[in-house]
């Protein structure tokens, strides 16, 4: 069986600067089930990295390990200088650097759009109401939802809710944003709005790691693509390479099914 190539000369050019996220030989078990079987990847500051692969291949697990929502049994995950796989990890310090957006938005349904975005800056960053509100409004404008400040999540479309979730994450001033299939629950029209927001974020220089099934989008915005299958990275490279001449038969089969 062909396993992904160990990290070597081929990626050395990518890591000319120190990577902001560096994952090395990570293994994760659920009981006796090995879900991540030795994953390594690097992300540079300002890069956009897409993780693609079939269902159950461990994409969500991998992304959740980066902000400590899931723990790993082996290997190292370094995020902006913080080692995640460490018993003494200051998980709050880690999560202040890493924003995460989920497939199901996970907004706070009893809080308005403005309150959703302001909550963490008020409670965690101890910002004054005035400054938190001002910043929240700017972020809401950034995701093109001005006018919806006082709406409740239940009154918004999926795409609008997802953009609120992005604004809510950005309010914590993260250095890295994680997106886990954030458009998978949306209908095709609203997918576009959300992708536009992410595209703008990437253009602003935010480091983004996204799990996505939107191959067109991945091809367009990603600096680097990782293809996962069965808990390993079977192939990775710039989008042009992975999409046009994938070497691994599993990648080829997957791409022929989704494109």
């Amino acid at each position: 069986m062909q396993r992904h190539e160990p990290y070597g000369a081929e990626t050395a050019s990518v890591s000319a600067d120190a990577p902001i996220v560096s994952i090395r030989d990570v293994r994760k078990f659920y009981g006796s089930l090995e879900v991540l079987k030795g994953i390594s990847l690097d992300v540079l500051k300002g890069q956009v990295v897409c993780i693609i692969g079939p269902s159950g291949s461990g994409k969500s697990t991998l992304i959740r390990c980066i902000n400590g929502l899931s723990d790993v049994q082996q290997g190292s995950i370094s995020v902006a200088g913080t080692e995640v796989n460490d018993a003494r990890l200051d998980v709050v310090a880690l999560r202040r650097k890493v924003g995460i957006v989920f497939q199901q938005y996970n907004l706070f349904p009893h809080k308005t759009v403005l309150e959703n975005v302001m909550l963490a800056p008020r409670l965690v960053l101890k910002e004054s109401r005035a400054s938190a509100e001002q910043r929240a409004k700017a972020l809401i404008a950034k995701v093109r939802l001005t006018g919806k400040e006082d709406a409740y999540p239940g009154e918004l479309s999926g795409g609008q809710q997802q953009r609120v979730a992005i604004a809510r994450s950005l309010a914590m001033r993260p250095e890295i944003m994680l997106f886990d299939e954030v458009t998978a629950a949306l209908d095709p029209e609203t997918v576009k709005e959300v992708l536009t927001t992410i595209r703008e974020l990437a253009a602003d220089g935010m480091t983004c790691i996204l799990v996505t099934h939107e191959m067109g989008f991945a091809r367009e915005v990603a600096d680097h693509i990782y293809f996962t299958d069965g808990g390993v990275i079977v192939e990775h490279g710039p989008p042009a390479e992975v999409f046009s001449n994938a070497k691994d038969p599993r990648t080829r089969r997957f791409l022929s099914q989704v494109i």
Partner: protein, 248 residues
Amino acid sequence: MFDAISGFFLDLYEKTGLNFNIFYDEFEYDRVLAGAVTSLELMAWVICLSIVLGVIGASLQHMGSRTLKGLVEAYVQVFRNTPPMVQLLFFYFGLGSITPQVDMGGYNEPLISSFAWAVIGLSVFGAAYNVEIFRSGIESVPRSTLEASESLCLTKWQTNLHIVLPLAIRVSLPSLTANVISLAKTTSLVYVISVPEMTYVLNQIWSDSMNVPEMIFVLFLFYGIVIALIGAVFSLLERKLRIPGFGQ
């Protein structure tokens, strides 16, 4: 009030034989009024205390140690699986007999009055249900919502206070309303420990005056109106707390 209605009811009695003596006999009138006030006070105490105890119990089950969880669980089982009347008898005659008496100068008064025992007994009974009601409210908050809160670096306490509690209250409210209403009705049981509330007082009056049907009618009406009011207060609360687009 009394003067305004007494004439009518005296007239009614003389013409039809319907004896609502509580509305024309000032002594009985005062007795019933005191009984009604006792009933309302009892309901207010029992509702508030059972909610407070319910929140405490559910919080312990949510966050407490294994031992605390086990204790709360045992308490819930015991008080849900025994009749409230038996519980009242247990508290009043069982625990009441071993609590100290205070010398009131010549005669002894129990430290805890029958009214206080009624409040304790019924609150503990009602809270056993409220613990379960609040617990299912807490469990209705999806894990993913908690993960979002965790990812935004809210502490466990901040998450409980700002996310879990407001959502759990809203989800629990319909079942809580049902339990509170049932609890308010159960207050009529405390006549078994001689608390002079509405049922007890009217029972005495109809024994003295032999006007059973009339007094039963008044009793029926009293509970009907009071319970309807309590229900109205809770549905107002439900409306006030309703969030557009949530939980419908």
